[in-house]
Amino acid sequence: MAEKTLLKAINEALSQEMERDDSVVVYGEDAGYEGGVFRVTAGLQERFGKQRVFDTPIAEAAILGSAVGMAANGLRPVPEIQFSGFMFPGYNQIAVHMARMHNRSRGKYKMPITIRMPYGGGVRALEHHSESLETLFAHLPGLKVVIPSTPYDAKGLLTSAIRDDDPVVFMEGKRIYRAFKQEVPDDAYTVPLGKANIVQKGKDITVVAWGPILHEAKKAIDSLKDEDFSVELIDLRTISPIDTDTIIESVKKTGRFLVAHEAVKTLGIGSELISRVNEEAFFHLEAQPTRVSGHDITVPLPRGEHHHIIDSGRIAHEIKRVATFE
């Protein structure tokens, strides 16, 4: 065991799953020789050869459509989309085939595909490099969507995703790729899909977040430690299917609910969580379930980005408001 970054944890999961299972292949734009623009796949081509780890033309529909074909013909593809904002040209394949092939063929063709993609802002990048598009995947039946917030979870969740027989969109918050390290076991292990993680117990308000924003939420909670209420913090981890039970149980206890996400507000995951909280814990609520999120605007270029992406300050402000609401 050693301290590892999220990036290193992902690289390790890829490497170990390739070792374990010959049918795992890794590919994408610059994912082969160079090891990806973030170096997430570094060393894999050297180790597993050009047949199982390769560069592709710039063609997202082919990257994801070929994954459908590979999966039908016995492989377990782990394609990379260079940045989530460039998944759109391949979205057709995700929506009309990958998410539906198992259903369409009545179980004949499973789709054990894991699409990895860096996402989210906070790294002062160009346009289309900073979006949080999880809604576009979570709205599609047949897909799973996973977003890790720690190196430990990243390795375990990715391992589960690769071994899973359904297509998984695995979104990596690029600003936490190297932001911090954590003890991560050297051997392979799994963290189950579909299970949220209670990061911190509390009794007065439930806060749900995931990915990089989870760390902002933590900071926010820390900044409120002298306040008169305690916060239960849940890391959603799997965005689809949602672990409703864990959230509902928490809200039934706390009576207050806040979801914090980087994505735009309208139809962000927050809207779905609030609806579920309503459906299943309505009469336990002591304040309106609330979301703190990006605005309904295009992610601004770096000089204006801070107005859009929520930080611990905005989250703390909302936690306090909801927790003390009477």
Binding site: S23, V25, Q51, R52, F54, T56, P57, A59, A61, A62, L64, G65, S66, A67, V68, G69, M70, A71, A72, N73, G74, L75, P77, P89, N92, Q93, V96, H97, M101, H102, N103, R104, S105, R106, G107, K108, Y109, K110, P141, G142, K144, D164, D165, D166, G194, P241, I242, T244, D245
Partner: protein
């Protein structure tokens, strides 16, 4: 080599027999055993009869929307006859004849067009009907790449329409497969129309075969109503693919004799004369003449076959009509390989509602 000898840029089109089934290109007449020839003919006939009947059923309100294959049987059966059992068929949505040749039971195909997902579960290396234009080419590329990676000897044979060649997915899939020398053969069925839109509205390129040049791979224009030419060209392409030389693009020049689908009225956009002219090149009658000339076939056999198939098709459709409609479980249970809790909960809630309603 056929692929080297016909240059699409010179508008050269490869054929073996003429409209009367006479061999006009002895050099390239494929050497096909008699059993296979008969099988090719029978499959085309079965497809034709099943097609005509399906249209009738649809007009009677018993069948749903359906995309007729009539006129394109040769462009489909030729290639499939050239393929090995283990090769993959990656269809678009108009490949009934190809699917039948691969061994997919007619009942499955009818069940699909009848509106039941059970009709898309095949035992063969055949992908389900693919509606979104162009997208199947990328599946074929992936299947072919997996064949290479896994050290198999399979080739992926995909079909696309003339309209489909305008799509970005076609381009990406062809180019992708080219880069990896993936064992893939793509057959464009240029049936002259994409719904109402004529071929020349799809692209300014003189032929569709020449699009192969964009991928650095061979492309050839073939008389798509000549099953022998389709067989021969595909065979060569399959050999190339198996030898690690990569994909080939074959433009089958053919004609959709029927409507686009049962919702379409072709009289809006084309003349009866045009249809009649193409009927003279009908692949089935041409092929019948060819095998008759070879003394493999005759009128009596043909009548017997037609009677047999008509009955078979009727029986098959009856069975499909009696097929149980999808249950609530079926509708929910295949969404994921393993059903998540939230969907299970939705299913139970819906079942409870149905029960309550029954009670009302």
């Amino acid at each position: 080599m056929i692929l080297d000898s016909y240059d699409p840029l010179k508008q050269e089109m490869f054929n073996v027999i003429d409209d009367n089934g006479k061999v006009v290109n002895k050099d390239y007449e494929p050497d096909i055993d008699n059993e296979t020839l008969i099988n090719m003919y029978k499959t085309m006939q079965l497809a034709r009869i099943a097609d005509v009947k399906a249209l009738q059923y649809q007009r009677q309100g018993r069948m749903l929307t359906f995309a007729p294959v009539k006129g394109q049987e040769g462009a489909q059966v030729g290639p499939m006859a050239a393929a090995e059992d283990d090769d993959w068929l990656v269809p678009s949505f108009r490949e009934m004849a190809a699917m039948l040749y691969k061994g997919v039971p007619l009942k499955q195909l009818y069940l699909y067009w009848y509106g039941n997902e059970q009709g898309s579960k095949f035992e063969q290396n055949v992908m389900p009907v693919n509606v979104p234009i162009g997208s199947q080419i990328n599946h074929a590329a992936g299947i072919a790449m997996a064949s290479s990676i896994r050290g198999k000897n399979q080739v992926a044979i995909s079909f696309i329409g003339d309209g489909g060649t305008s799509h970005g997915e076609f381009h990406e899939g062809m180019n992708f497969a080219g880069v990896y020398d993936a064992p893939m053969v793509t057959i464009i069925q240029n049936n002259q129309y994409a719904i109402s839109t004529p071929r020349q509205m799809q692209s300014k390129s003189e032929t569709l075969a020449q699009k192969a040049i964009s991928y650095g791979i061979p492309g050839i224009q073939v008389d798509g109503n000549d099953p022998l030419a389709m067989y021969a060209a595909t065979k060569e392409a399959l050999n190339r693919a198996r030898a690690g030389k990569g994909p080939t693009l074959i433009e089958a020049v053919t004609y959709r004799q029927g409507p686009h689908t049962t919702s379409d009225d072709p009289s809006i956009y084309r003349s009866e004369e045009e249809v009649k002219n193409w009927q003279k090149k009908d692949p089935i009658s041409r092929f019948r003449k060819y095998i008759s000339n070879k003394k493999l076939w005759n009128k009596e056999k043909d009548e017997a076959l037609q009677d047999e198939y008509k009955d078979f098709v009727k029986e098959t459709f009856k069975a499909v009509e009696k097929y149980p409609t999808p249950t609530v479980d079926e509708v929910f249970d295949y969404t994921y390989a393993e059903m998540p809790k939230t969907i299970k909960a939705q299913k139970e809630a819906y079942k409870a509602y149905l029960k309550e309603r029954e009670g009302e």
